[in-house]
Structures are given as structure tokens and as C-alpha cells.
């Protein structure tokens, strides 16, 4: 069988699996639709959280990004895992004990204010939409690269599939499909990684392989990382493992970005709501543990894949005659992900730093994962599995985001503010309609991506960090935090962060690191926004009357697990 045939087969089988699971786990009431009726065991919630969290970008792009960044890639590795420690210790158990449906629910109730609820609704919807557009695009891109269909056709297939299970089945169906999607994506990630590790170092475990000695090529017998550093020195690039050398990020910027991603992770609504779905406070804590185990499996493999791809790329291509380039190079050249420009006319490929005029090779970061199986000469079904894995990562994240958008509208906006007399049945139907509309809007953005899609990740994390995280933590850990404090804090954190990102990304994109405040890039500014939010919330709270007694009682009650068994 050929690669496209295998891809149709495996992608078809996995889609069939997701729809079957969804069919048997449909939600029949709002509790089932929003939070799967509190019936998800911690182990499986951890798996579902892993799939929910790991997006098309984690699966397809992250290893390639790290491959170009070397040490600096730590901002993603630390940032996107360390946030789970904050989630587990500061938020998850208490949100579960509080036990309602959404993040704006908690903000609105704790801060006894419709204004606070509305600010939270706007943040939740904005963050989720910026994120979901990228997922739908990811579905289209995987379809087009592996099956040769148009990106738009792929996006539409994605819309139909996600609509079928998210809008009809709600959180119950989303949860169990996410469990299946996790298994597909992790298998698709680990199998090629292990094979490449084996081929390059003779060690089948990638986490150990990238600290081992190479067994083939001109550097056989030296440690892989030493070989990369040497190759980089020869090409005039900064060493791969070195930190804070010219051409790399500054120490403060690495810290700011990692911290903003951590805090942003802990403030993302689609991750937070997963902790509402478990039966007990205890299982909310263990969910966070299992989630990070399952996420860590991919996140500790990614930096290994990054080094294997880097050494492979340089060793097999640099200095080689273009006519003698390996077959995978020719295959992927057709997709435009890798391009050779013979500037000096000698017919050989010269790899230099990206901004070096002598550089002749342009490589898209996505190729590092997508072309892996071909570089390692794995059978066609593995290539097809990688396609199915990329789709699983994109669809599972899209579904989780869709639920946040849908519940923000049907529950937080309409039920809690506009039409409190709505019946259960009406709310459930409205939630389905809202999910349907949201998926179509997301699909539209997937087909017509706004120019800023690649930059909105900074936005989503910066805004989550500077809006939600401080008011959630203070809402639990300080009874004295008032509605005035929370609203002022959310707005000031949000305004500052949004202004900084908009200025440096869109108004003055040419202004480089010299113009950044203290050298902090727009990706890392969310951490400053968070600090502003904390300071304003605490300050204003002390100047305003304390929250009413029943609110303080509620805060007291969410601090103790007993009583969660409603």
C-alpha cells in the first residue's frame, strides 16, 4: 500500500472511532454537556487533559522550533509543563470543590458581580477563539500535506467531525474522544522518535538517546550534543546547548517567557474546566498529576526529536550536492516546507544562520516532525500514523475550546445574566447551537487565517496570565479580595498586556529587542501584566468594603474537600 492509501485507512479508522465513542457518550442534560456529570475518573481525566492541552502546535511545530532554538527552547518545555504545578497546587482542587460549570461562573459568583462575570466571559471567548482558529488551520494543513487535498477541504472535514461530537455530545463525548485521541497522538509521536533514536545512537529511548554517542556518520563515537555543538561552531552558529550567547535570548527574556507561559497555562479556561469533570477534590489533584505524566511523555521526547532532526539535517544536507540529496528532501521540497536556493552556483547545499546571506537552505519548523518517519526510513503506515496523530492533537484541542465558547455564551451570558428563567432543556439546546456557530466561525478563520494567527499564541497566553490567574488565586487564598479589586485588577492587567503586545507586534513591529522594556519580548510580557493585576487587585481590595459574609463563607467552604460529594 502507498502512503496516501495508508493515510486514508488510518485517518478513516480513527475518525470512525471518535464518532463511535461520541455516539455512545452523549450528554442528556446541561451537567453532562458542560462537565460530563462529574463522572470522569482522575486517570482518564489526566489523559483527556493531555489531549486537550497538546495542540497542533505542540505535536507538529514544537520539536522543530526547539531544533532551531537550542537551549532557548526551554521556554516552551518549562513553560508549558511548569504551569501544571500551579494548577495542581493553587487552583484545581478548589475549583472542583466549588463545583459549578465554567470559569466565568466562579469569577462571577466569587466576586458577586455581573460585571466581573462579563469581563471573564469576554476573556474566555477571546482566548479560546484565538486558539481554535489555529487548530482548524492545523487540521487543514495536515490533510493537505499528507493527502494532497486542499487546505479548505481539510478544514471543512474538521468542522464536520468536531461538530458531530462536540455540539451533540458535549463534555461527555469530548472527554472520551480525547482519551482515544491522546492514545493516537502519543503513539504517533513516540514510534518515529524511538526509531530515529535507535538509528542515530543505538538507544531506543529518545530521552536517553540524545545524551548518548552517535553510532553512524562522520561524528560516530562522540556524544550527540557535542557533535551538534561542533557542527554549529563549524557553520558559525551559536552552540546548540549554550545559553545567553550572542544570537540567543537574554536571561531575563527566557525567564519572562517561561513564566508567562506557565501562568498562562494555569489561566486557560479550556484546561481549567477539565478539573470540574471529576467526582472529588482528591481526584482533581490526581488528575493534575496524571495530566502532567501524559504531557511529560511527549514533552520530554520533543527535545530529543529536536536534536535528532538537527544533526540529521546538517549531516545529511550541508555541503552535499543538490543532485545527490536524499529522497525525503525531494518529497518535502514539493510541499514548500524545505527550499534550496543555489546562491553561489556550486550545486551544493550550504547551511548557515538564517540571517546569513550565504545560507542556501530554508526549512519550515513543521518538517522536523512531519518528515521524521521518512528520514528514518520507517514503513508507510508510520507516516500515516503521524498524520492521524497531528489530526488527533488538533481536533481534541479544538473540541475543548469549543465547549468553553459554547458554555460562556449559553450558560454565563444567557442563563446567568440575560434570561435566568430559561429551562434546562432550552439551555442545553442553546449550548448546542452556540457550539455549532462557534465551530463554523472557527472554520472560517481556519480557511481565511487572519495575518496574525502565528502571533496570537502570545496573545492567548499573555491575556490568560494577566486576566484570570491572579483573580482566581486571590479568590481562593484571600477572603478579603473584593469585586472592585478583581474587576480593576483584570482590566488593568489585560489593558497593559494587550497594549504592549499590540504595540510591538502590529504598531511598531520593526522595533526590536532594544526597544522592549527591560528586554522583555511581547511573548513574555504577560508575566508583568500578571504582577500588575495582583498589585491592583490587592491594593483596591484593601480600599473597598470587604466582601459580604455569605461570600466569605463560600471561600471558607471551598478550602476543604469534604462536602464535594453533592
Amino acid at each position: 500500500m502507498t502512503i496516501p492509501q495508508w493515510t486514508y485507512l488510518i485517518v478513516g479508522l480513527t475518525f470512525g472511532l471518535y464518532l463511535t465513542i461520541a455516539f455512545f457518550s452523549q450528554a442528556r442534560d446541561t451537567k453532562g454537556f458542560y462537565i460530563a456529570g462529574h463522572h470522569v475518573p482522575a486517570f482518564f481525566n489526566g489523559m483527556a487533559t493531555g489531549a486537550d492541552w497538546m495542540s497542533a502546535a505542540s505535536f507538529i511545530s514544537m520539536a522543530g522550533l526547539i531544533s532551531f532554538m537550542g537551549y532557548d527552547g526551554a521556554v516552551y518545555l518549562i513553560g508549558w509543563t511548569g504551569g501544571y504545578v500551579l494548577l495542581a497546587l493553587l487552583l484545581a482542587p478548589y475549583l472542583r470543590k466549588y463545583g459549578k460549570f465554567t470559569v466565568p461562573d466562579f469569577v462571577g459568583d466569587r466576586y458577586y458581580s455581573s460585571a466581573a462575570r462579563l469581563v471573564a466571559v469576554v476573556c474566555a471567548i477571546f482566548v479560546s477563539f484565538t486558539y481554535i482558529a489555529g487548530q482548524m488551520r492545523g487540521v487543514g494543513v495536515v490533510f493537505s500535506r499528507f493527502l494532497g487535498v486542499q487546505v479548505n477541504v481539510g478544514v471543512i472535514v474538521g468542522i464536520v467531525i468536531v461538530f458531530a461530537y462536540a455540539a451533540l455530545g458535549g463534555m461527555r463525548a469530548i472527554t472520551w474522544t480525547q482519551v482515544a485521541q491522546y492514545l493516537v497522538l502519543i503513539a504517533a509521536y513516540l514510534i518515529p522518535a524511538a526509531a530515529i533514536s535507535m538509528k542515530l545512537t543505538g538507544v531506543p529511548i529518545p530521552q536517553l538517546g540524545f545524551g548518548s554517542k552517535l553510532v553512524e556518520g562522520p561524528h560516530a563515537g562522540t556524544y550527540l550534543l557535542e557533535a551538534i555543538d561542533a557542527l554549529h561552531r563549524d557553520l558559525g552558529l551559536p552552540e546548540y546547548t549554550a545559553a545567553y550567547t550572542p544570537g540567543k535570548k537574554s536571561m531575563l527574556d527566557v525567564f519572562a517567557i517561561a513564566a508567562a507561559l506557565m501562568v498562562g497555562t494555569a489561566g486557560l479556561p479550556h484546561v481549567l474546566i477539565r478539573f470540574y469533570t471529576v467526582p472529588t477534590v482528591r481526584s482533581a489533584r490526581f488528575s493534575a498529576f496524571w495530566a502532567l505524566v501524559f504531557i511529560g511523555l511527549l514533552y520530554t521526547t520533543a527535545p530529543a526529536v529536536a536534536t535528532f532532526a538537527r544533526v540529521n539535517l546538517i549531516q545529511t544536507l550541508n555541503g552535499r550536492a543538490y543532485a545527490a540529496a536524499p529522497e525525503w528532501f525531494k518529497n518535502w521540497e514539493a510541499t514548500g516546507l524545505i527550499r534550496f536556493q543555489d546562491k553561489d552556483g556550486d550545486g551544493a547545499i550550504a547551511i548557515r544562520a538564517t540571517n546569513d546571506p550565504a545560507n542556501e537552505l530554508t526549512v519550515d519548523q513543521d518538517i522536523m516532525v512531519l518528515a521524521n518517519p521518512e528520514i528514518a526510513r520507517l514503513p508507510a503506515w508510520v507516516v500515516a500514523l503521524v498524520a492521524a496523530g497531528g489530526l488527533a492533537a488538533a481536533l481534541s484541542t479544538a473540541a475543548g475550546l469549543l465547549l468553553v465558547i459554547s458554555s460562556s455564551i449559553s450558560h454565563d451570558l444567557v442563563k446567568r445574566v440575560l434570561l435566568p428563567d430559561m429551562t434546562e432543556r432550552q439551555e442545553l439546546n442553546l449550548a448546542r447551537v452556540a457550539a455549532g456557530v462557534a465551530v463554523v466561525v472557527a472554520g472560517y478563520f481556519g480557511i481565511h487565517p487572519p495575518g496574525f494567527v502565528s502571533q496570537v499564541v502570545a496573545f492567548a497566553f499573555g491575556l490568560a496570565a494577566s486576566s484570570f490567574f491572579p483573580v482566581l488565586v486571590l479568590g481562593i487564598f484571600s477572603k478579603r479580595t473584593t469585586k472592585e479589586g478583581a474587576i480593576a485588577g483584570m482590566l488593568s492587567g489585560l489593558t497593559f498586556t494587550a497594549a504592549y503586545i499590540i504595540y510591538f507586534k502590529y504598531v511598531a513591529p520593526a522595533a526590536g529587542p532594544e526597544a522592549w522594556w527591560f528586554g522583555i519580548s511581547p511573548e513574555g510580557i504577560g508575566i508583568v501584566g500578571m504582577a500588575i493585576n495582583f498589585a491592583v487587585t490587592i491594593g483596591v481590595s484593601h480600599l473597598t468594603p470587604p466582601p459580604p459574609a455569605p461570600i466569605q463563607e463560600t471561600v471558607e467552604a471551598i478550602r476543604y474537600p469534604r462536602g464535594s460529594e453533592i
Binding site: F43, L77, Y84, V85, L225, M251, A258, T280, R282, L292
Partner: protein
């Protein structure tokens, strides 16, 4: 927490459960504080601030600082959450605030 003022003796009209809750919450804050201190030490101090000196030390084929930043920190984060789960489970039952078992509440 040694610098915080001594807690006043529970007033007679306050139910005993209340002061037990306060002690539980205090224990919780200490556990969270210590674990977050380790989280910061590994995730920021070792992996970011001290990465250059640590890179002078080798761990097999890895420069140590690079290994912590790309691998070790993640293992520590997983370990911290597990320790938190286990310690809190102990505190829950010590202060009698644990949840009663019910169907489907497994981990």
C-alpha cells in the same frame, strides 16, 4: 511561617471544627509554599539563572544545565504534584476533612 504571630486560643463560642479547619488550611499553605519554593528553585534558578555555570558540569552526554532545562525540570514538576497529592491526602484525613467514598471516585 515561624514569624507569624501565635494563633489565639479558640474562643468558647467557636465550634471546634472551625479551629481544626484553620489548622488544616495553615498546614495546606505550608505544603504549597514549600513545594512552590522547590518549583521555583528548579524551574527558574537552576534551569534559567544558573544554566551557564551548571553547563560546566557534565551528566553523561548532557551539559547539566541544559539537561535540567530540557528534561530534569519536567520530571521534578511531575514529582512535586505527586508529593502534593499524597501529603494532602494525609492532611485531609488527619484533620477529618476527607471526602467520603462513593461510587466512581477512584483515582
Amino acid at each position: 511561617m515561624a514569624s507569624s504571630p501565635p494563633t489565639p486560643p479558640p474562643s468558647p463560642e467557636e465550634p471546634p471544627a472551625r479551629s481544626e479547619h484553620a489548622r488544616y488550611w495553615r498546614a495546606n499553605k505550608i505544603i504549597v509554599g514549600v513545594l512552590l519554593a522547590i518549583w521555583f528553585l528548579v524551574g527558574a534558578v537552576l534551569a534559567i539563572f544558573l544554566v551557564r555555570p551548571l553547563n560546566g558540569v557534565r551528566l553523561g552526554g548532557f551539559p547539566l544545565g541544559f539537561w535540567i532545562a530540557h528534561q530534569g525540570a519536567i520530571y521534578v514538576f511531575i514529582g512535586l504534584i505527586l508529593i502534593y497529592c499524597l501529603l494532602m491526602e494525609r492532611e485531609d484525613s488527619k484533620f477529618h476533612v476527607e471526602e467520603r467514598r462513593r461510587r466512581g471516585s477512584g483515582t
